[in-house]
Structures are given as C-alpha cells and as structure tokens.
C-alpha cells in the first residue's frame, strides 16, 4: 500500500484519538523532529528533552481538539516543535543571560556520524559535516529552518508552507535566499 495512504489512515485514526496510531507517529517522526530541534538549539541533550516534550504536547493537543485546523500531521508536529523551542528559549533567557555562542561547543562534541562507520571515512565525513553544521549556525534562524525542513528533513514546499504559515511562493523565495546565503558563507570561508 502506498505510503501516503498509510499516512492518511493513521491521520484518520488520530482524529479518533487512537493511542496506538500515535505511537506509530512517534516511530515515524521521532528522528526528523529531533533533527529539526537539534539544528535550532545546537545541543544533543536539549534537543532530546525538547523532542520528548513535543510528542507529549502534540498528543495533548490531539486529545483536546479535533484536528480540523490541520491538513497534515507533519504541519502539526513541526508547529508544536517550533513553539516548544521558543518556550525553551524564553525559559532560558529568564534563567541566564542569553549567549550567542550557546551550543557551538556542543556541536563540536556531538558525534554526528555513526561510530560503526569506517574510521577514515568517519573522520573525513565528520569534518565535512561539522563544517556544514557550523556554517548553518551562522545563518539567520529563518534561513536555517527553511534549509533543515527542505533539504535535511525533505518536506515538500506545500508542507513547509503549512508549517511556516507562509504561501508557497514565499517559501520558494525563502529557500532560494537561504541556500544562497549558505553558499556565500562557504565561499567566504574558502577565500580565507
């Protein structure tokens, strides 16, 4: 059965507040939601904490609402994820002064490559990935978000438009600008 029919069946079950269906959703989306949050907060531990909260909050929303406002489950999950990250930053800013460098050290320490890989390719891949992740941190939040959604989590334009509450035209322009900005960062580094 095609994937989109399976997704549709799961979404229909969620409208009836089916708990087993929600566990399937967790299995399907835990990695991508974690990744989305990780690129926002830059810390593995924080990303894991926030991701846990996202699924609980999403279930809470599903229990108390009828999902009519959402065409897809993806848009709901990502919106809850965005809002949870914002709440997290607010709490953090109340506790300590915010630091622009927060999280960069964490990126350097995060093992973003599967340790089971061959050591040499692991070192080289890790270096490339780390450079790219660091460059992403230098991007504006809006641009970074667009790139993560489009090229890393592979949402289509329509889905991104629903998550970001923008028109599809705006999303395309945003992605174009984001990619251009990332390329310029890469080219600036090569020149240095």
């Amino acid at each position: 059965m095609p994937q989109n029919i399976k997704d549709k069946q799961v979404f229909n079950k969620l409208k009836k507040k089916d708990k087993d269906a929600f566990i399937l959703v967790y299995d399907a989306y835990a990695n991508s939601i974690y990744r989305f949050i990780y690129f926002k907060v830059g810390s593995k531990e924080e990303a894991e904490d926030i991701a846990s909260q996202v699924f609980l909050k999403t279930w809470d929303y599903i229990r108390n609402n009828n999902l009519k406002d959402y065409k897809t489950l993806k848009s709901l999950l990502y919106k809850v994820a965005r809002n949870t990250v914002i709440d997290h930053y607010r709490k953090q800013s109340r506790k300590t002064e915010s630091s622009l460098d927060a999280g960069i050290d964490d990126i350097n320490n995060v093992n973003i490559v599967d340790p089971a890989q061959d050591i040499i390719s692991e070192i080289s891949t890790k270096a490339d990935h780390e450079m790219l992740v660091l460059r992403m941190r230098d991007l504006k939040d809006e641009y970074r978000e667009a790139i993560v959604l489009r090229y890393i989590n592979e949402l289509n334009i329509k889905e991104i438009a629903q998550v970001l509450d923008k028109s599809r035209g705006n999303v395309r322009v945003l992605i174009y600008r984001a990619l251009k900005a990332l390329k310029e960062l890469a080219e600036d580094e090569e020149r240095e």
Binding site: M1, N4, D7, K8, Q9, V10, F11, K19, I23, Y26, D27, A30, R35, E48, A51, S52, F55, W59, Y61, N65, D69, T72, K74, K79, V80, N83, I86, D87, Y89, R90, S98, I112, T125, D128, H129, L132, V133, K140, D141, E142, Y151, I152, N153, E154, L155, N156, D165, K166, S167, R168, G169, N170, R172, V173, I175, Y176, L182, K183, A186, E187
Partner: protein
C-alpha cells in the same frame, strides 16, 4: 560551490539522529503517559455519565411499568441495531442494518450530511464485499452476494456523486483571486524566476523521488499569488502560540487569508476521488477503496466547513478580501513578535 553539491551535502546531514537508547526510553515513557492519561480520562467520563435512577422510585406504579416497557423496546431496538452493525448479506440481522441505513437517510435533510451518509453506506458495502469474499460459503452463493454488493456499491456512489454536484451548484461562486501584477521591489529577477518553478523542480537533489506526506485532496500544485515577501527574520523572541490557544477570531482571520477557492474545488475533488474509489473496487483493491472513500468524506467535510466563511468574506468584494488578508498577515506577524 555548485548548488547540487551543497544540497547533496545537506542531504547527508540526515544522519544526525538521536541515540537508539533515548528513542526507546522515550517511547516507553510516551506509552506510559498515553495509557495512564487515557485510563484517568475514562474514569472521569464514567463518573460524569453515571445516571441516577432515584427519581424512578417516586413514580406511581403504572407510570413506572409503562416507562420500563418503553425502555425494553428501545433497548431491544438499539441492541439489535448495534448487533446488526457488523452483519453481512446472508446473516439474519443484515436486513435490520439496511433498514437502519434507509431510516438515517430519510431523516437527514442537509445535502452535505446526506452525501457523507451515502459515502458511509458505500464504505459499508465495500467492507461487506471484502468479508463476503473471505467467507467459506459455497462459491455460487458467494458470487451472487458479491455481485449484489457491487451493484449496491455503485448505486450508493452514484447517489453520493449526484449530491456532490448539488452541493457544488449551491456553493457560492468563488472567484479566484487575481494574481498581483505588481512585482515587489525587494524581489530580485532570480527570485521572480524562482516563483515560476514547479515545487518538485526547485533545487532538488532528489529528482524523481516521490514527494510523500500526508496529502488531502488533489496533489496537483496550484500557483498562488505572492501576498508578502520573506522579511527580516524574526528573532528568537517570537511569541509562542500553541496551536490550541488560537482564538476564534484568529481562526477566522487565518481562514479569511486563504486565497484558494476551496469549497467548490474540494467538492469537485471529492467527485474525482469517488471515481477513483470505483475504479479501485473494480480491480478488487478493497483497502484502497476504503481509503479513497474516507478521503472523499474528508473533502466533503472540509468543503462544508469552509464555504460558509468564504461566502461571508466574498460578499464584501475582492478588494475587501485583500484588505482582510493584509490585516490577517499583519496580525499574525504582530503575534509572532
């Protein structure tokens, strides 16, 4: 650096994943939360719905007797309807099921609800067909029942399609917004060109990969006019608005800002989906048929929800719609700050 090379590198960042241990632990925690929340809810709901029969004691005996007789008859009727719900042709209670469906149809007057009811009955026929074919009865009997079910399914579908046509005829004519011809001064020539690119073609390293996702309605991409341009990014002080906290007025604004002619398109989309369902039934793909029927049901439901609000907005004219859209975008952006 080439775009494709950069995109290819970005794709590889998919390798960033949480640890398997976290995933497993979190899954267990989530399951515990879901089921403990569920059981608490069940207990509360049970407590609320417990009926008190104290008042019965005070009734005079003949009145109490009459009440009990009525309850038994109603209870018996309700129970037989419930028992008949899963019956299939050949079973004793199947006739009760059909009578119940006809009754429901007769007491429903709203066209949208009638159409959705028709889809429910078509859904039932498709399910019954699947069950009948799985039975171990004599082949001749099975074939006869299956054929009758297919005929009934086609009838229900035809009736549902007729009703969808009626819904379309009654829906207000929604004029698609004229695309804004003025080009925003902030868009460069390249960016204007980007607006013309089809969704699947834009800087995609996954050419040919099917864009999956939970889709509702047609997957055809409809070009939208540009209402706004991506502005300076919001700082991290963007207001967090939980989806659950959206107020009615914000909801209405959000819906008013929709530029796509939703009601007639979605109703028309439902008719197409029914055609697909029929085709799938002919190929004996019953699961897919059932999914298509559910999809059509959702489309009709959405058409019914949106058309009322769209009609109210359009009654004030196109320029007023643009004004409302601008206000809605400004309100949303202010809420984000």
């Amino acid at each position: 650096m080439e775009d494709k090379e950069l995109i290819s590198q970005l794709n590889k960042l998919k390798e960033i994943k949480p640890s398997a241990k976290w995933q497993e632990e979190n899954r267990s925690i989530l399951m515990n939360q879901l089921y403990s929340l569920g059981s608490n809810l069940g207990a509360r709901e049970t407590a609320k719905t417990k009926l008190s029969f104290k008042w019965l004691v005070n009734l005079p005996q003949p009145a109490m007797a009459a009440f009990l007789i009525v309850m038994v008859i109603m209870g018996g009727g309700i129970m037989s309807i419930k028992a008949a719900k899963n019956s299939v042709p050949g079973q004793a209670l199947y006739i009760a099921k059909i009578i119940n469906e006809k009754t429901q149809q007769a007491i429903t007057f709203d066209q949208e609800k009638k159409a959705r009811l028709g889809l429910t009955f078509a859904h039932n026929r498709a399910k019954e067909l699947k069950e009948v074919l799985a039975q171990e009865d004599e082949q001749a009997e099975k074939t006869e029942r299956a054929q009758q079910l297919v005929v009934n399914f086609r009838k229900e579908l035809a009736i549902a399609k007729e009703r969808i046509v009626k819904i379309n005829e009654r829906a207000p004519k929604i004029i698609a917004e004229e695309p804004l011809n003025e080009v925003d001064a902030n868009l460069s020539t390249d960016e204007i060109a980007v607006l013309d690119i089809e969704d699947g073609q834009m800087f995609s390293a996954n050419l040919g990969k099917e864009e999956n996702g939970i889709q509702i309605g047609d997957s055809e991409i409809v070009e939208e006019p540009v209402e706004e341009v991506a502005t300076e990014p919001q700082e991290d002080t963007v207001a967090a608005t939980e989806p659950a906290t959206t107020t009615d007025s914000e909801q209405a604004e959000g819906q008013a800002s929709t530029t796509e002619p939703v009601a007639t398109e979605e109703s028309a989309g439902a008719a197409d989906v029914l055609e697909e369902a029929q085709a799938l039934l002919e190929t004996q793909d019953y699961d897919a048929t059932l999914s298509k029927l559910e999809e059509a049901d959702d489309l009709i439901e959405q058409a019914g929800t949106v058309k009322g609000e769209e009609a109210a907005v359009l009654a004030t004219g196109t320029s007023a719609v643009l004004e409302i859209e601008e206000q809605a975008s400004t309100t949303f952006e202010n809420n984000d700050k």
